[in-house]
Symmetry: C2
Subunit: 347 residues, 2 copies
């Protein structure tokens, strides 16, 4: 669950600087991957800046990793040198608890090992992520990338893709349903593409009129401007499912009223406290507010296969490794459509 890395945040000033990290040699169940692309997730920036108070430096972010296999351990029959593979947010779990048993390794009761900034028995004692030339990962946590997908565009599928696919899939989104995607960023733009590919009537719900045109290009059938009270009233009780990608605390009540009776809004972004929730709305309509966190390995592979079938990748801006600090700044200003992906050739 570790790697060779040349980039790390040496301090918590939010600035990435070169740093040398301990290497793990591939063991018998491991796959060694030459990293070609790595997506830049908001979590990376939070980790680099220690926003969550759990960062240990040196820290190598990156959990949207695409590359090709350069070596496999003696017990690995599943992958061969040259295979296109990916690594997402997880690199290990106990594989024997109640959560792992039902393919929800992200909820491992013994604590999943995250791709970076997570404790491990490897040299260095920590995992180091994908802003790097190479990574060594246990075979069960390596994913196959469909050949037809653009590799750079596929990188964000490993986090933004599965984070949005999992709830859409879990709540049975399909043709005949009206699905709202709240918030148009890295997660939201994947939500539109995936809900649309699943056949749902997909509605982008955003505060920004500017984003309406882009939402349609991404596959939205309709756009609902949430600051327009008349529009919001018109859509009351119309949604079979809402995917809420807003990344900060907010008032969810205006969205809950958009749900049909017996329907669900799932949060994937707001890890902060939400404002007061109207209990009567939930009770009187038998409505549900749920959360969802990435996805397990089985579902992540299913998502990648689905994206292969429907030719879905992320809209990206490819950057050089040396652009990362600028990219972080632009992300903070919400100035990216819709994901930065680092070309690791440039490292």
């Amino acid at each position: 669950m570790s790697d060779i890395s040349a980039y790390a945040a040496k301090s918590n000033n939010g600035h990435m600087e070169p740093h040398k990290i301990t290497r793990r040699e591939p063991g018998e169940n491991d796959v060694q991957i030459e990293i070609e692309y790595c997506g830049v997730c908001h979590s990376d920036l939070h980790a680099v800046k220690n926003d969550w108070g759990n960062s240990e430096y040196p820290l190598v972010p990156g959990h949207e990793i695409i590359g090709s296999v350069s070596a496999v351990g003696s017990n690995v029959d599943e992958f061969s040198v040259g295979d296109s593979v990916g690594v997402g947010c997880l690199v290990d779990s106990c594989q024997s608890c109640e959560a792992c048993d039902i393919d929800l390794e992200q909820h491992c009761l013994n604590g999943a090992v995250m791709t970076y900034n997570s404790k491990t028995d490897d040299p260095g004692g920590r995992t180091y992520g994908g802003y790097s030339k190479r990574i060594v990962v246990q075979k069960d946590f390596v994913l196959r990338i469909p050949q037809n997908l653009n590799k750079a565009g596929a990188a964000p599928l490993l986090c933004a893709g599965i984070t949005t696919y999992s709830p859409l899939h879990q709540y049975g989104v399909k043709k005949g349903m009206t699905v709202g995607i709240i918030g148009l960023g890295g997660l939201g733009h994947m939500g539109i593409k995936l809900a649309s590919a699943m056949g749902a009537h997909t509605v982008m719900i955003t505060t920004s009129q500017d984003k309406a045109k882009d939402a349609k290009r991404l596959g939205a059938d309709d756009v609902l401007i949430s600051t327009n009270k008349d529009e919001m009233k018109k859509w009351r009780g119309k949604f079979d499912f809402l995917l809420n990608t807003i990344p900060v605390g907010h008032d969810i009540n205006p969205y809950v009223v958009l749900l049909k009776f017996d329907s669900t809004m799932c949060l994937v972004g707001a890890i902060e406290p939400l404002e007061s929730v109207n209990g009567a709305q939930l009770i009187s309509g038998r409505k549900v507010v749920a959360g969802s966190l990435i996805g397990g390995l089985k579902e992540t592979q299913e998502m990648l296969d689905f994206c292969g079938q429907h030719n879905v990748v992320s809209d990206i801006e490819k950057i050089d490794m040396s652009d990362i600090n600028d990219a972080f700044e632009r992300m903070q200003a919400n100035d990216v459509r819709y994901r930065f992906v680092i070309d690791m050739e440039t490292l």
Copy 2:
């Protein structure tokens, strides 16, 4: 959907006084019921006091109605004179919308007709409830009461029973699951009895040490005192399902942490705004906060049959009609174990 009544609240001073209400003669699809018992629900008190601002006087409360059939319309083959029957919170719905089509008449998109204080085409233009000698109800909204159940004890099943049964059933409560019932009142005591009858390991979660003994008597396997921090910590992540019957706005976060990953807390009481909800808790554990409102007719009959099989009725205090104003006062002081039921012989 109306009745003959002799008691109504003439004003919104929260006091019941005698009043004469217009009668409906049974139509061809109607069942006429001589009311024997009527449970006293908190909603009755809210309606009498116009707490929700929608009361029209004269108002006859009561939607936990048990009686026997005294007449049936010409199209009614389902019921005969002398049958033990019940009427709950609903007396009509459109029976043709998306909600009615899936037996969720309580969410009728054209507006269900509630048993009292609801608009209707009948003489008087309003429905009048069960604090009365007789009621006339469309046959599809009349329920069969299993013969083995105590009639007075069965009355609260029509609201408190279905309100708790529906979410327990909907979320698949069964043997092998650990289920918490939060709050021990009219709803909570039914929650314990029903979850226990479904075979779950049932835990009463209450602020009150006084209620612990009673909870065990009602069928709880364990009692968790929610003001005890060590106890609350011990039960973290242990519950497969939580039924939250607290009737006022409160902080749900301490309860959400008690849930296992991928599990649900369902609200049935708190129609007021809830305090800030921790989005991270929902997301990181793929947890769900849901609401549930009574149940449809099909599920209500299923609940009554289940109670018949398991001999489950409510713990009640039988009162005379003339005691109703005292009973309201005691309810407000939370001084009832666990439901008042009016003996309509005394009217």
